[in-house]
Symmetry: C2
Subunit: 159 residues, 2 copies
Amino acid sequence: MADAVLFEFLHTEMVAELWAPDADPGSGGKKKSWSVLEGLGFRVGQALGERLPRETLAVREELDALKFLCKDLWAAMFQKHMDGLRTNHQGTYVLQDNNFPLLLTMGSGSQYIEEAPKFLAFTCGLLCGALHTLGFRSLVTASVTALPACKFQVVMQKS
Amino acid sequence: MADAVLFEFLHTEMVAELWAPDADPGSGGKKKSWSVLEGLGFRVGQALGERLPRETLAVREELDALKFLCKDLWAAMFQKHMDGLRTNHQGTYVLQDNNFPLLLTMGSGSQYIEEAPKFLAFTCGLLCGALHTLGFRSLVTASVTALPACKFQVVMQKS
């Protein structure tokens, strides 16, 4: 019984709990669910960031910080590396995971693609929170074209 | 960076989110928070239970099931064993953890003892959910006398 499944099960149940169907469409329920999950992820990302080895905290190059997310952070969370990292060299980065573990339970293809965003909110916040601890302000969004692959887009904010 | 901290950080933030101060004391807010966290734990415990090796699922003696929680389940979650297991031989079991990881951030002693229950609800549900998968109905409660030690009381329900 692997420890990693504990995190994945807890994440799944937390999404189910916080993404409850909203009785009043006018109250911005889904938007609120997204930001609650994103906020949770941000704080967990910050906390994970504070556990980093000192050498990593000395990272000051954007690209090194992104490589850290793709390798060390992904390994700690999902026991693997991100599958791809691209940049336009102007502060925008696209991180690709071809088998994102938090989407694996949804099966493959596009049938349930509308349900995917709720499983990405926590991780968007987490990436943003980890970058924050490394000293970078960012906006992180996610997109899915075919489950269980997804892309995270990180846009660095100039301070 | 250990994977285990990921679960602990997520648990901490989930408690903070779901145990929000309640504006209306009449609405049973804290009671609802407890049952939401307990329900989340129950479902995670069931899911973990379904990942057990086949030999374990063949457990049919109460005491074997409890030993499984104290050793295998605790090791998978917290990388250690429970510190003590007692029974009155009439279906009541007391599981003692002298350094319960989900209470460690609260410091020692009795200063914050009133805050402790919210950090135990998820685990009470989880123990109950894992027992459910093993084929046992139970009621699980927790108590704290001095942080970070705690006791889980399991009362087996006759079917």
